[in-house]
Amino acid sequence: MIIKNKSVVDDDWSVLRLNEGDTTESVAVPSGKIIVPLKVWQAQRDKLSQRADLGVWLNSDERAEDLQDDLAKFAVIAVNFPKFADGRGYSIAYHLRTRLGYRGELRAIGDVLRDQLFYMQRAGFDAFAPRADKDIHEALKGLSDFSLSYQASSDEGQPLFRRVQRGGAA
């Protein structure tokens, strides 16, 4: 189960993570819907390009720009949060949405917790795989912590001062 478009839905994708001993060249990518690491995609590009059921995930220290020419090839792009306190994934999402024009599913995976979902959604994520030990229905509530934001981001291109008529001097 994941959260997608603000509701809890079934999910038939699996995420490939390298085990000890695997290399990006040699690891076997199983059939079926699978989200592979960026490095595996880069190493096995020729083979994997044929597949329609492919996603790719970036780690927090990787760059959205590395996917620049391939965006149309993926049904889903995921960004891994190795720790919830690692905030690089927010900038990656922002770049994918606002600079590279990615419109497909953008999924947060890894150490994804309820209290981070609101910012993640603003930065451009529309799908979330909360950590397995957490209640996903509880996590869903995190998307509606605020009904209003000051600044522009991926979800809302205009800052508050351009969106609404605000109060001025009395």
Binding site: F84, G87, S91, Y94, L113, Y119, D145, L148, A169
Partner: protein, 581 residues
């Protein structure tokens, strides 16, 4: 004051609700401490030695009388009747219970206050010149820009989990009073040759383990582009700042590693995507925000007041107060007044609930109901009629807030140290007290003149010791409190980091160390030369030689009956306060 509108209120209310629920989940065990810690820090809630500590934001240091009264009320209701004003123009309450924090935030929200981003690895509360809007040397009032940046940085979705804390300071005057050079980003509002307003931007300053003075990244960013440009700086930092080592995670390390040219290139490459985009600040928005700062209804008054001048001749204490605590005002007949929170025997920056209420009262009576908090840990009444100075002085004196020592030896900047802080190596407040007692003579302080003595209890430098004319750093030696001394640091336009004079000293030796430094100064100074200028002229040598020339009594052990009772870890608490102001 800046007036919030319905949108600010709604965001603040939703934040309170969010935090209330987070605390509920923590108390029920749904959230583990390591998950909760970051959430509570972003709401200003620390775990200290004795209790939780709540740090409440005072955006750009500006506060209304009603807000000050709320601090007094929080101090009484949830704390032990006092609060601590900090170098970041905030206030801290030291004895909080976790369960009370949501209720306190709800109380604060009733007067448009909060604890947003007063801690944690996000963009912190933006600090500002405490004399903004009234200073005679002001070029442009920085507060509307500070408010625009407050809104931009509050709950910024991309920058809530930066590699480290991120601090902005902004000044709009000829003289920098906001220590902009030792902030992650320092902004100075300037005018170019055409009279257009923009920002000179410094980046990569900071204190802590690796003190660095910020480097200019751009000498003029037109004000319209402030948000987009600053956002690019923070974005490059978010993506490339180190996360493997917390001591190397600050932007100053990134800027040093890349070099300012390369860092600037990356910032400008990022900026190309947003420059002139929707986040460009509009004239209408700047005007709206500026108009939300109430302009006091100044009267047309003559400069000077005969009653003030008469008392100044007759009363030495009043004369001293006028000389040290009154600052020039751009409007004739008015003055800016600093209320000292540095009375000897009181922890620097501490105020009791009674003092906060009194300060609010003084603000209502004498200063259009507004106050400011200074990064030197004092309060300011910015708009006082000169003809009210005598009455104000009497009222402030009665509350222990008229000590005529602003900018003098006992106007110490001081962090909480090991009296409160879990990270400390040594006590700071107790040391500030010991030093203050040694130099309690106000005539002596006036003779020494302008000097900045800054004390930090550990390398994190919360007491700004690096930029003190005399800087004191607590270090740990076999579980005893020891102190390293540096001289020659300074804030302001010629900011610089002080140099250590030699091996460290025991607690009980420290007042004598300071005395010896001052002796050298008194011996060597030219007429009207400040301590810092003497240090710059003659160098460290003579100071160092004299301090170490003969042994100082009180080696190693914390002897002296007065300090014997202060065993390490014993909290500095209310008994220390003389409640007889």
């Amino acid at each position: 004051m800046y007036r919030y509108d319905q949108f600010d209120h709604q965001i603040t209310a939703e934040r309170v609700a969010q935090f209330r629920d987070q605390v509920r989940r923590r108390l029920s065990g749904e959230l583990k401490e390591d998950e909760f810690r970051i959430l509570r820090l972003q709401n200003g809630l620390y775990m200290q030695i004795h209790a939780y500590m709540l740090r409440v934001a005072v955006p750009y240091g500006l506060i209304s009388a009603a807000q000050m009264r709320m601090f007094a009320s929080i101090a009484r209701k949830y704390d032990r009747g006092y609060g601590h004003f900090t170098t970041r123009q905030n206030i801290q309450f030291n004895w909080f219970k976790l369960q009370d924090a949501p209720e306190a935030l709800a109380d604060l929200a009733t007067v448009e206050m909060h604890a947003n981003q007063t801690s944690g690895n996000c963009i912190r509360n933006i600090t500002c010149d405490e004399f903004a809007g009234v200073a005679r040397d002001e070029i442009v009032d920085p507060r509307p820009y500070a408010e625009i940046l407050r809104q931009w940085s509050t709950f910024h979705p991309e920058f809530g989990y930066l590699p480290r804390k991120f601090k902005f300071a902004i000044s709009g005057a000829e003289h920098d009073r906001a220590a902009i050079a030792v902030h992650d980003i320092g902004l100075s509002v300037v005018k170019n040759a055409q009279g257009e307003v923009g920002f000179r931007v410094l980046v990569g300053g900071g204190l802590g383990r690796t003190p660095i003075v910020g480097t200019e990244i751009c000498d003029f960013v037109p004000w319209q582009h402030a948000i987009t440009y600053l956002e690019s700086i923070v974005r490059v930092y978010n993506e490339h700042g180190r996360r493997d080592n917390i001591y190397k995670a600050r932007i100053k390390i990134l800027v040093k590693a890349l070099g300012i040219e390369e860092f600037k290139r990356q910032v400008e490459a990022d900026w190309q995507f947003t420059k002139n985009g929707p986040c460009t600040i509009t004239e209408a928005e700047l005007n709206r925000v500026s108009a939300c700062f109430t302009v006091p209804a100044y009267e047309q008054l003559p400069e000077g007041d005969s009653a003030v001048e008469a008392l100044q001749r007759d009363n030495k204490a009043f004369a001293n107060w006028l000389q040290r605590n009154i600052k020039p005002h751009k409007v004739p007949g008015y003055a800016a007044v600093v209320l000292s929170l540095k009375k000897t025997g009181i922890a620097p920056g501490d105020a009791t609930a009674e003092q906060m209420d009194a300060a609010a009262e003084l603000a209502d009576r004498f200063s259009f109901g507004e106050l400011r908090i200074t990064h030197m840990q004092n309060l300011v009444l910015a708009d006082v009629r000169q003809s009210d100075l005598v009455a104000l002085w009497k009222a402030a004196d009665a509350m222990g807030m008229a000590t005529p020592n602003i900018g003098l030896l006992n106007d110490v900047i001081c962090c909480p140290g090991s009296d409160f802080c879990t990270l400390a190596n040594a006590r700071s407040i107790s040391l500030a007290k010991a030093i203050a007692e040694r130099f309690d003579n106000i005539d002596f302080q006036h003779d020494i003149g302008d000097i900045e003595l800054n004390i930090s209890g550990c390398i994190n430098a919360c007491g700004h010791h690096h930029i003190g004319h005399i800087g004191i750093l607590g270090v740990d030696k076999d579980g005893e409190d020891w102190y390293q001394v540096s001289i020659g640091g300074s804030q302001g336009n010629s900011a610089g980091v002080g140099k250590v004079i030699g091996s460290s000293f025991a607690f009980s030796q420290m007042p004598e160390v300071v005395a010896r430094l001052l002796e050298v100064y008194v011996r060597e100074r030219h007429a009207d030369e400040r301590f810092i200028d003497t240090v710059r002229r003659i160098g460290h040598g003579p100071f160092k030689e004299y301090v170490y020339a003969t042994p100082i009594a009180g080696d190693a052990k914390l002897d002296g009956a007065e300090y014997a009772s202060l065993e390490k870890g014993t909290p500095y608490d209310m008994p220390y306060y003389s409640r007889r102001f």
